[in-house]
Subunit: 585 residues, 2 copies
């Protein structure tokens, strides 16, 4: 039927009776309030249907499934075999060899003694192996979180005050874990999506530069020694200028649950630092997890992941660990070395255990410069020039966010950089919800398709009819803007029409396809638009309002106000009904 009409619009005879046979805009059956509310709740918090596998199962089976959901190792462990272990063993040994020098360096970024870095690569990976759902992530301290934690803690207690500083570090770690578990359990994982990709790219690069510059200070003596050796070959250059790692305490993690501040002024400070560090740690880990899950094509449950990371940090805070998370450099190495499951984390963990028990004192003689080189090579991976170029190409506002975060970290401080990143991200959201796009539509030649005339310069306007598309849900945050913007289009068009002595605008068709929802403020704005148009003797016509919108247009009485014969399925139908007769042959 529409096919026939199309042909007619295409230039043949117009039969108005036909337009009455046009498919009507569907009004969905009224839902019960409870159903509607439950559906909204589900889409907001349970859109991934975490319980879909539980449906219609026996109670005992549900218990097994529940345990498997909490401890994925019970699931994938059943298929575990020797060939998988071979890959995990090699990967585990590889990441352990990378982890040991990194941990020593990262602990220093956090202003902690080297062994605390090693501790944090022993307990948390073990916990994660049982609870995590990523097969590739390597767990341990990471550069950015260590730097952030070090800066934030130092603001509260000077790190020379070792005991209190350490206690605050454990307190922060504890609350970082609590934050992560809470976000996961309350299914608020989407909150970390508010840190935009661009802002993270900038923040990471800035942190990498900051860390790199810090480490260069350690390398400098070595370089000077090498140069000295080369140029003054005959003189006996003493190596005593090269700093070495301080003594590392031997033995496994001591308990530290009693050191966490559960009362007093440091409780609140630890809590605040923990929330920030926990969020940043989550962001890094989830981003890495998602990337590798996409490469290997398996699903990563964000909320479950948060519970796993949180639990491991809570347990960590009680066993002398500081905030651990998924490490970018080690995860990449883990993946490249052929890991198959989280068992590689267990292998790494055991190597760390042996190291702590047996060979730790040997590391005493590692030159700081070597540690620094390893850290620099690790953080260089955090500077993603390609991503920055892509961001520049795609979205200039994103680029500003990226650069803001980058320069904030490099020239001011880690916190300010973070603040800039979050601030710009929020500004972008505000912009999105307050200033939606609108477009004038025209008819593509030889079709009955109406498109943005700025995108399709060959699209032509229909005389006497102005077609405007609103590209967003109409909510309180933008309803006034949308109304004013539509009127502005109209005024501009009327001026043009007047100047060119064309047909007076008699119909304003609002293409509502992209208007996915409308609220009371939106209806209010539409009513004001309708009243203003009425005074100008212009008819308001709506095309293709969606499911939620048509519902509310009727509920509010607006559909009856403008007359429901003014609501069409497509712009083409509306144009067909109102196109001036001069168009007919």
């Amino acid at each position: 039927m529409s096919g026939e009409i199309t042909d007619k619009v295409g230039g043949r005879e117009l039969d108005l009776e036909d337009s009455q046979r046009v498919h009507k805009v569907g009004v969905p059956p009224k839902q019960k309030l409870s159903t509607e509310f439950a559906a909204t709740l589900k889409e907001t918090f349970f859109h991934d249907e975490p319980l879909r596998h539980f449906k219609g199962q026996a109670k005992s089976r549900q218990l097994v499934l529940g345990l498997q959901a909490l401890f994925p190792i019970l699931d994938w462990g059943r298929d575990y075999n020797l060939s998988k272990f071979r890959g995990d063993l090699i990967a585990g040994l590889t990441i352990a060899s990378l982890a040991i020098p990194q941990d020593i360096g990262y602990a220093k970024l956090a202003n902690l003694d080297p062994q605390y870095g090693l501790y944090s690569s022993f307990v948390p990976p073990l916990v994660y192996a049982f609870m995590g759902s990523s097969r590739d992530i390597a767990i341990g301290p990471v550069a950015v979180v260590s730097l952030l934690l070090g800066t934030l803690l130092q603001n509260e207690i000077d790190s020379s005050n070792k005991v209190e500083y350490r206690r605050l570090a454990f307190t922060a770690t504890f609350f970082a874990g609590i934050t992560q578990v809470t976000l996961g359990v309350l299914r608020l994982g989407f909150l970390i999506d508010f840190l935009s990709h661009a802002a993270i790219v900038g923040f990471m690069a800035g942190a990498a530069i900051t860390i790199g510059l810090q480490q260069l200070k350690a390398i400098a003596p070595l370089i000077s020694v090498i140069f000295a050796t080369l140029f003054v070959f005959i003189t006996h250059a003493d190596m005593h200028g090269v700093a070495i790692v301080n003594k590392i305490k031997k033995g496994v993690n001591p308990a530290s649950a009693n050191q966490i501040y559960f009362t007093g002024g440091y409780l609140l400070k630890g809590f605040r630092i923990g929330v920030v560090a926990g969020m940043i740690a989550l962001t890094e880990s989830i981003a890495i997890g998602r990337t590798f899950a996409a490469v290997k094509d398996y699903e990563l449950d964000g909320n479950k992941e948060m519970v796993a990371l949180g639990t491991m940090n809570i347990i960590g805070s009680m066993t002398s660990c500081y905030v651990a998370t998924g490490s970018f450099s080690r995860t990449a190495v883990n993946f490249a070395a052929g890991c198959n499951t989280a068992v590689s984390n267990i292998v790494m963990s055991f190597v760390l255990l042996l190291t702590l028990l047996v060979i730790t004192p040997l590391f005493k003689y590692t030159p700081n410069a070597v540690i620094a080189s390893i850290i620099i090579s690790a953080v260089i991976g955090l500077i993603d020039i390609e991503a920055v170029i892509l961001i520049w190409k795609i979205d200039k506002l994103d680029f500003i966010a990226c650069m803001g975060a980058f320069f904030g970290v490099v020239f001011i401080s880690v916190e300010i950089g973070l603040l800039i990143a979050v601030g710009i991200s929020f500004a972008k959201i505000l912009l999105q919800v307050t200033r939606p796009r609108t477009a004038l539509l025209g008819k593509l030649p030889k079709t009955n398709v109406y498109r943005n005339i700025q995108q399709y310069p060959d699209a032509t306007k229909v005389p006497g009819i102005l077609i405007v598309r609103v590209d967003s849900a109409i909510y309180f945050s933008n309803s006034n803007y949308v109304k004013e913007r539509i009127l502005r289009w109209l005024i501009d068009e009327e001026e043009e029409v007047k100047a060119n002595k064309q047909t007076r605008i008699q119909y304003l068709i609002v293409q509502m396809s992209p208007v996915t929802d409308i609220d009371t403020s939106g209806i209010h704005a539409l009513k004001e638009l309708y009243r203003t148009l009425q005074k100008r003797e212009i008819q308001l016509v709506l095309a293709n309002p969606g499911r939620a919108v048509i519902d509310k247009l009727y509920a509010s009485g607006f559909a009856n106000l403008i007359g429901d014969n003014k609501i069409f399925l497509t712009v083409a139908d509306a144009v067909l009904a109102y196109a001036p007769k001069t168009e007919e042959p």
Copy 2:
């Protein structure tokens, strides 16, 4: 051309060559970065083109236009005549008679002596008459702002400490004005749009109830006296139980610029209170102004309005006034009494001046109960039951916001109610940007139109093709959700297909019409979607990407990744190209 294709999709022969003649998706000409940036800036801050009248005018004319923009009275004053004045005079006298008792009562709500209410109805309306662009608003103290200011000030200084309390009130008024002017000059007026209509309705109703209950306490003695008089007619009931207004100071506004705290601890407190009170005052005034502007069909420039309101409060704070704004009850009376321009405010102002100079002492004998009755009748208008019912009908989330604000004000406090209103408004925005809607599309019978199958139950799916529409710009805040939701649709569909032994899904068409923009995170999510689909041997096809989106699909290389023959102008075109051969006759 599309007409012909339509017919074929309608059941006749499929000619694949035809699909190549289909109109291509338009790639708009690349804009220069500066042009693009300027356009974004303009739409954000200058979408109303405040300078459009200035274009192409001589310098002297531009000066006149500039002055007229700042002082609209210079514009409308030229056409002012006696017949207009008649209306304004009657309206002005009417609102003055209402203003005097209201002002006395409202000053009490703000814990100030009665004359400060009268002062605030003298200077600010005069300033507004010169600078404001509304023809109907009546300026003066209003109930809600007075109550809010009284509560906030009382939290800082006890009102029994009259001098300091008053100084803080002037300080808050000064900064309320500064806030309003700043918002207007920086063109950030859209920030007040973040208070949703529903939240305001609830907040206003709650404030009205609170004020009403306070005033009832004053009326109660009068009622008891009346009852006593009726029932104990013979006894000589003394009227001394009825409280009267305290002494009102005679004379015009004293200067108060020197009383504003520009240093010390109260500076910050005054600033904070001023910002809150200024924003609420703006919200009320702009809402009222817009309503009446729509009724009489003239334009109200929100940003200019803010400058006018702000200036009048700054001047007010230096002449012993507290925060004034557009009053709901008096504006309605002003309109009903036939006001034509802001001259009615000038008339009211002069009546207030005479009152202050001559008859103020007489008001001493007004029973508080009379004042209370007048205030109650004024605030009752703030309870908009009809609006609440409409909100319930249209949007349940809005209703929750409305009720939250209402009960917050009534049962806790004005600030908490306000906080709840703002909080729920923000939560709604977060929901909007993190959880956009998606829909499965089906073909409407006998058309080539594809619509949501939940809205149109007679729409049918195309075998082997899944068509999903994404109903929002894809930004960092929702990109992961969108990707996961699309995959969830796919998994559900595949399960159904398997159960019913239908054609395996081979194509996933994403209808992009409502996707008005995409950022780097969005492109990232699309790439992940593409990779996942590739592994499942499903082709990703896009239909009708908009102007900004197509630009970015090419800039990021995504269009080349999926192949630009996979991007179609309409869903119908895409289906035509990929519909299974079994469909052919």
